[in-house]
Symmetry: C2
Subunit: 713 residues, 2 copies
């Protein structure tokens, strides 16, 4: 089967092939191993690529000792992969030639395309279109290349592989940015960790980081996949990669840059990444079980923990040190990382007390004190009782100071045995290199300080919890693959009556109200509410010409007589004239009393599609936001989990003698809004229910105002 | 002058002497240089102590090659300092003998005192009392010792000085914990930084960390003082140390552990540190210009920045890198650290555009792109225009990847020249050791990643700002030295009327109200308020037997007729009977309408004395606290700065068309409360004004409820 026919059947086939191709042509091969056209050739030879390499350079018979060809047509076969390292128009022509010849995938290292200017972007689009038409995939342009140290297919020009010797291992790294594909590589290699994949994809004109991740995640020997992202233009690919990874218990940790406005501006100039709303990114990654690292340190500091094969069961930490101060700092750090230090059992403490001097503390943290200096055997003696204690999910061993006079070798050996026997996550904090090296040599996870150790452990445990939650969800319901959201037409504001009607039709409880077109109707509406037991009403101008009504004098609250309502009707008409807007009527609505004003909002994200916000309501939602993001589809349990993350979470259960809120009713409303937004044919583009007044448990909740935008027909 | 007469005149004199004594006796000197009694002797010899060392050990004629004495009385002179390295009762006796002999200061390394049990604590107190009576100061017991590499007086038994070669330098470290006095030493030495002082004070029975800091801060060659604290039992000493340090522009950075409940529990078992309320510690340290590090990494990561001699003028960061991704991550990190990236001037950008390829970005961050690989000269060329640009206060240079093909030597040289010429703070991020080593060799501050570099720089700049604020304050008013707060007698609750009267007498505006003792009085009080234009009143049971009234049915709101008020009166009586409490009367008070309910609280901290809290008010102050701490004395500007740090800060200026709050009126109330609490003879022990209803600017604010506890006479 020819490569191109492979590619035409399965768009991923060419990507798989690119990670372990049978043959690679280097178009623009250079004899200088430090040039872009020379380095991949040098690497392929040096790192043991077992396929065939075809240097192509019309002016040479041999390049770096390898027989060189004049052109693609002179090769004895069509190569699976071609690296294009030519400049300018020559690159464009070469890519075209490859596509014509039936090459499965081109890695275009040449720059001068979309990253330069609009003309370059057009050239890039044309190149992509021609390749697509012929079934050839493109990585790049402006790509640093793909490096697979498993197959030796190191089709990359990164300087880093000269600087830091590679070692095949269980970690994969994918990044648009060349630098960010190899900086983690360098930092991990410095920690002694092997890296198999280090791919820098460049402009992502065809193959993107996320699509490549779908294939890299299939690698059966991979145990951790790291991603650097500036934008996520194709969440469907990332969702697929995450699904593949979850199927194999392969964790994915992503560093998504452009969190801040300044970062988003920089990302736009760098990779042209359009700003994703950051909290939406958070919600998307969590939904798919991907951990979001906050910095490069986060990205690499936990890596060793993922490679230990631990199956953590909880977050309860037991800390052991020969320094009381390390115990205190560990307790502080554990508190920040939400890892409780529960007391060891009485039985364990009794055993420890029999071993340790009287002034040592045995509760947890366990402080061996400086007594360790005079008796190195204490360390070995206390571990077995602690290993048997049921109150530990994870351990920190802090060796504050050691050296001459201490049996550090034994501490390390005992710790390694303890870790192996308990099988529980264990981190070591040791600021001295002479100490940490001994522990590292036995495969333990060692950090300079307790703060770094606890932070990394906390992140690892949190990710394990997230993976567990997502696995339970996966077992119940298949997460729909996000589709490319359709482009929405321009939208128009509905008036309040229409907005409330739309919500009511979807099952959201709305305030009892009447849209009135005369004072008489307004009086009648009031009287009708009085008959239903309503004491006080709100009168509002109903208009599709303004979404913020109170600023325009279009709201009167707390009217409790028909005359006042009639006067209110007249006021609304006057206020509308003043503001130069047309009313579709005047709403007379029950004045609702509840326990708390909450809100539900919804938007369409250009990339992620429907997004629902739930949170505290009222007039300060912009000034003091307290909201959580939900990505439809979601259920009531989802909504409740989001509510429990709000600042106002304590109020849900009632404080200071107040009754609990009707959280269930709120969740039903939010689920209804989620379903509405997730309807493939919904024409709602934006929705704000604020306030949604929530009563006591069992008393329900009521939307008393709503602003909805709908696509123009 | 004998040491003891010195000490009797000035309690600090003995401490100064202890840092550079003319003679040191080692009581319990051991020939084994790895024992507690042997190591100080070995260190004194090895690290060039220029005074006289007197080993004392009745069973030897010579110890480690030094002539040994039988007892203190056999010495040719009274030593300035004696190290006591004996066990148990012998230690106690030796200390006593030193005091009798006129030794200025004893460093008691022996353990078995207060850290062990109550009996040990009593022995420690007796030892201290006897030494005090004779004018001798004690460091310890359970002290690791004092190490001064400037004078060579390394009277310490720390293992660390064997493990990591010392180098005298501009940093001082003081800690109760021995480990925490040398872990920063080790981490700083690994960064090539010299450390002069590394003192581990132990149980602090006499000399405390904070008192020792007063003397260490006088060292004219010290440029940074680091403290590790678990408790601050003597804030007056810390205030004095901070004052001495500020007088010499010596920054102090403190790692105060025991932030969390778990950490406080661990600190109590470790050093017996009583929990300080953490936010009070924050406020105290800030007031005195001391930066609070969050972790050991924070403590040491900024050290090199303090030693550069920079005088930062602002926080605007300019970032320069050969990687766009580093630019993006730097922008994100700068955003977290509150460091704006302002665009370079048009003129600068024009100059940069003339130098860099068209696709490089020049706005800020400046992305040199991979073009640096083909032209190392670009780096050198862009620095002069950037150096001239006025929009930079500080710089980050990120060298993402470099090595063969790059002129790293020139990058480092150019960066060093640029840093020297601008004199502005500059940090370098370089993940490769081969690159970072070149920059470090030229004295630049280098971090592995941009995240770490920006975090450290941000902390340094924030501390510089804090020091500036405190210097301005110092120039205006001398900060009073905190005194030992007196022990307060048991306190009793005042009823609301008495509480409001107390506040009114202090100038706090309180709600118009009358304390009534009959229905007739209640009706009259209502009518009187109506005459003043009040439409609606609140009726409350007034009692000194309960502080939370609404839960007991002792509050009725919104009454607007005399009959209703009379009925309210009867209700209060009934509710009081139900609750089994006695009323001192019923309050009829104006119902106040304002824009926001805020709160002012006040407490006496057992250590720090009066503490005032200002924040958002209402019934959820415990469930969703939004408060800031102020330490009296403070002025209105202080209060306003605290209000601007609240979550509700946006509301102060009015949002969504609301008027601004009367912040000035609130500040006056808070200042009045601060003055009340700071009165030496105040008998108020606790105070809560909640709500303090704040009106629009100019409309003032009114205390509508107050709970005050007062010492029993």
């Amino acid at each position: 089967m020819s490569p191109s026919s492979l590619a035409s059947r399965d768009p991923r086939a060419a990507l798989r092939l690119a990670l372990a191709p049978r043959s690679i042509a280097v178009i623009g091969a250079s004899d200088n191993a430090h040039k872009i056209g020379g380095r991949p050739l040098a690497y392929l030879v040096r790192f043991g690529y077992r396929g065939t390499v075809y240097p192509i350079n019309p002016s040479r018979a041999e390049v770096q000792g390898v027989r060189c060809f004049t052109s693609l047509h002179d090769l004895p076969e069509v190569p699976d992969v071609a690296i294009v390292a030519l400049a300018g128009d020559a690159a464009f022509a070469a890519v075209d030639e490859c596509a014509q010849a039936g090459v499965a995938l081109c890695i275009v290292m040449s720059s001068g395309f979309g990253e330069v200017d609009a003309a370059g972007k057009l050239r890039e689009q044309a190149m992509t279109a021609r390749a697509r038409a012929l079934g050839m995939r493109i990585v790049g342009p402006n790509s640093q290349g793909l490096a697979n140290f498993g197959s030796g297919a190191v089709a990359s020009f990164s300087t880093m592989f000269n600087e830091v010797e590679p070692l095949d291992g269980p970690v994969g790294i994918i990044s648009q940015s060349g630098a960010m594909s190899v900086i983690p590589y360098g930092l991990l290699r410095a920690r002694g960790i092997g890296v198999r994949h280090a791919h820098g994809t460049g402009n992502d004109c065809d193959v993107t980081v996320c699509e490549l991740a779908c294939v890299v995640a299939e690698d059966p020997e991979l145990r951790l996949l790291l991603l650097y992202l500036e934008g996520i233009p194709d969440p469907w690919h990332l969702a697929e990669a995450a699904r593949v990874a979850r199927g194999r218990n392969l964790p994915i940790v992503a560093l998504k840059a452009g969190r801040s406005a300044a970062g988003q501006a920089a990302a736009l100039s760098h990779t042209g990444a359009l700003a994703n709303e950051d909290r939406t990114v958070d919600a998307f990654l969590a939904e798919h079980g991907i951990w979001r690292a906050q910095s490069m340190v986060d990205l690499v500091d936990t890596t060793q923990l993922y490679l230990m094969g631990w199956k953590p069961r909880g977050r309860r930490l037991v800390a052991i040190s020969n320094s009381g101060a390390v115990c205190v700092l560990t307790a502080d750090a554990a508190s920040v990382a939400n890892m409780p230090l529960e007391p060891l059992s009485d039985a364990t403490q009794a055993e420890l007390k029999a071993i340790l001097p009287g002034f040592a503390t045995t509760r947890n943290p366990v402080d061996l004190t400086a007594a360790l200096l005079t008796n190195s055997g204490l360390f070995s003696a206390i571990l077995p009782p602690i290993a048997r204690d049921p109150s530990a999910d994870a351990f920190l061993i802090g060796i504050a100071v050691a050296g001459t006079g201490y049996d550090v070798e034994a501490f390390a050996r005992d710790t390694a045995r303890f870790a192996a026997e308990t099988g529980k996550p264990l981190v070591v904090a040791a600021p001295q290199l002479s100490v940490s090296d001994r522990f590292k040599a036995l495969g333990l996870a060692v950090y300079p300080t307790e703060g770094e150790a606890v932070r990394a452990l906390g992140q690892f445990l949190s990710h394990a919890e997230l993976q567990q939650v997502v696995a339970v969800r996966d077992a119940q319901v298949a997460l729909p693959v996000p589709c490319r959201p359709r482009v929405r037409r321009a939208s128009i504001l509905l008036d309040e009556a229409a907005s409330l009607a739309l919500l009511a039709a979807r099952g959201v409880a709305v305030v009892r109200h009447t849209l009135c077109h005369s004072e008489v109707e307004a009086r009648a509406a009031f009287e009708a509410l009085v008959l239903l037991g309503v004491a006080s009403v709100v009168v509002k101008g109903c208009t599709a010409e303004a979404s913020h009504k109170s600023e325009l004098g279009l709201v009167r609250v707390g009217l409790n007589a028909a005359d006042a309502v009639a006067a209110g009707y007249r006021e609304m008409q006057a206020a509308a004239r003043n503001a130069g807007i047309t009313l579709s009527g005047v709403i007379v609505a029950e004045r609702v009393h509840g326990l708390r004003e909450l809100m539900i909002g919804a938007r369409f994200d250009a990339v992620f599609g429907p997004v629902v916000l739930v949170g505290d309501g009222g007039k300060y939602v912009e000034a003091m936001p307290d909201v959580q993001v939900l990505l439809p589809p979601f259920d009531a349990a989802h909504v409740e989990r989001a509510l429990r993350r709000l600042r106002i979470a304590p109020l849900l259960d009632g404080v200071r003698g107040e009754p609990a809120l009707d959280v269930a009713a709120f969740c039903r409303c939010a689920v209804a809004v989620g379903a509405l937004m997730n309807d493939a044919d919904t024409d709602v583009t934006q929705l704000d229910i604020n306030p949604l007044i929530v009563g006591a448990r069992g008393a329900g909740c009521v939307a008393v105002d709503a602003v909805i935008y709908q696509e123009q027909p």
